[in-house]
Amino acid sequence: MAAATGVRASGGATPSLRHRLAERGIDRHLWLLLPGVAFILLLFVYPFLYGLQLSFRPLKGGGVFANYKTFFSDSYLRDTIWITLKLGVPAAVLNVAASIPIAYTMRRWRRGRRTLTALLVVPITLGTVLTAEGLLNYVGPAGWFNKVLRNLHLVKDSVPLLHNYWGVFLSLVITGFPFAFLLISAYLSGIDPVLERAASTLGAGGWQRFRHVTFPLLAPGVAITFCLSFVLAFSVFPSAQLVGNPAGSTHVISIAAYHAALEQYDYPLGSAIAMVMAAVMLVIIGIVLLWRNTLYKGSSGGKG
């Protein structure tokens, strides 16, 4: 926005000012930024700030922090943080941890990669609603999954995978794993394979090459992938409602926020819960990024 005011100032009769500003990159072309920046300020930044100040103006009175007090004193609401973390962290860890060896092994397969990538994009584009609907049929008591297990005599009755923690966890893996895999393989393709060959000439075995050459270069990418996977899993909403137990074991924080804001019309409390949700995400991301800052940050010699 400083750019826009700068332009207005240069509209006057001081050509030298306009010159000086143009030298620093401020000229009338920056007006082209106006629609985009104004849009984001109006519909992204403003609602967030509005929600923040709204959360300090509780409907029923009781002081500035009354909404936050309600949230942290009501165990039904407070536990949503723990419930969501218990879903989100393991799901993100599993998705990232499974992606690394798979992407690492597959990085040499030139032919199959594009097909595989295209296939993996499918569950992401289909989204959680369809995944949930599919899971209802597939892992239900009469679904194919349990039928196969029964015919293999692995279980007697059926594995309860619906309307509990595991239903939501499965849906988070189905949509989250492809996402993590695609990011990790993008980061891997940015690491020059010559580095590994160099390690190989020095006598490093397969595991040593991965552990001491590739993984340290990949670690910053792993940190980012973990952050994005975690944020996705932490904001789980539709599948927690459809294949979870939204009033009990999967009463996640987004359900609590939605319930308060748009079902009880307690906008301030809803905003407060949304702010808590954002804060928890920031804390986790902050921890991961702090760890990332201790890692090697130089060139990885690849195209990335």
């Binding site: 849009f39 930044v45 597939y138 996705l232 904001s235 987004s254």
Partner: protein, 296 residues
Amino acid sequence: MATMTPVATTAPSGDQPRARRRIVARPVTWIVWAVVAFFFVNLLGVVMSVVVDSFGKSWFGTWLPSGFTTHWYGDAWSEFGLHQVLWVTAEVALSVVVISVLIGAPTAYVLARRDFPLKKVVLLLFLLPILVPPITYGIPLAIVLYKAHLAGHLTGVILANLVPSVPFVVLTMTPFIEQIDPKIEAAARMCGANTWAVMIRVLAPLVVPGLLAAGILVLIRTVGMFELTFLTAGPTSQTLVVALYSAVFSAGIRAQQSIDAMAVIYTGSMLVLLLIALRFVNPTQLVTRVREEPTA
């Protein structure tokens, strides 16, 4: 495994010199194959059980339904008012594509070509709506839109869906414009073209592929966007995915098969869009556009 094991030792020498990696296949490779295969088998199971059920007459505890029929599609079409739902979906998606390209393209141009104070801040401003999950900013956004009496009908749905779409267009198109040689613009200016003429007659034809890519990606993301539409839609402004959610959520009222039929219609339209998109763009672009900033 830590010792040196030359890969080609056990490969049959002579007949197929190129295929040595395949044949040796260390245990790790087998495990990776198995995990990937297991994932895809289950994914296929999830999708196919919806498709099969939507064509089934009745299906109780057997491997396949007792007979096949297509009448659930007709039922779904009338019960869920799919005619209107599809129309709304198309309206929302196309408006979002057009508006976000109109807003995003000029911004992408400036970000690609200019260096100015606070550029990092502006970039961050466009990165945040993509990185922050929609449900987090969606609730305050929905509150603001409800207070402004915009939510509950089409305008609110379109506005809400624009929030992640505009930054997405900006971040998809910026690298695309960066790789167009600025000398072409300089040449046009030297020949006397003003900014407007440069934009319309020189740049626009060159960025058409980038526009198409950004447009189709936004289209897919908008059709599949559940959270923002769900938070702002009223009864007459539901898109397909939200209608599907409502149907699944209130399961038991309608026949499961007609819900599945709607799910198949949704899947089908997404797959068609996906096939179109894959002709224009790199699949990873569908997921995210995060690039490592050199300073980060």
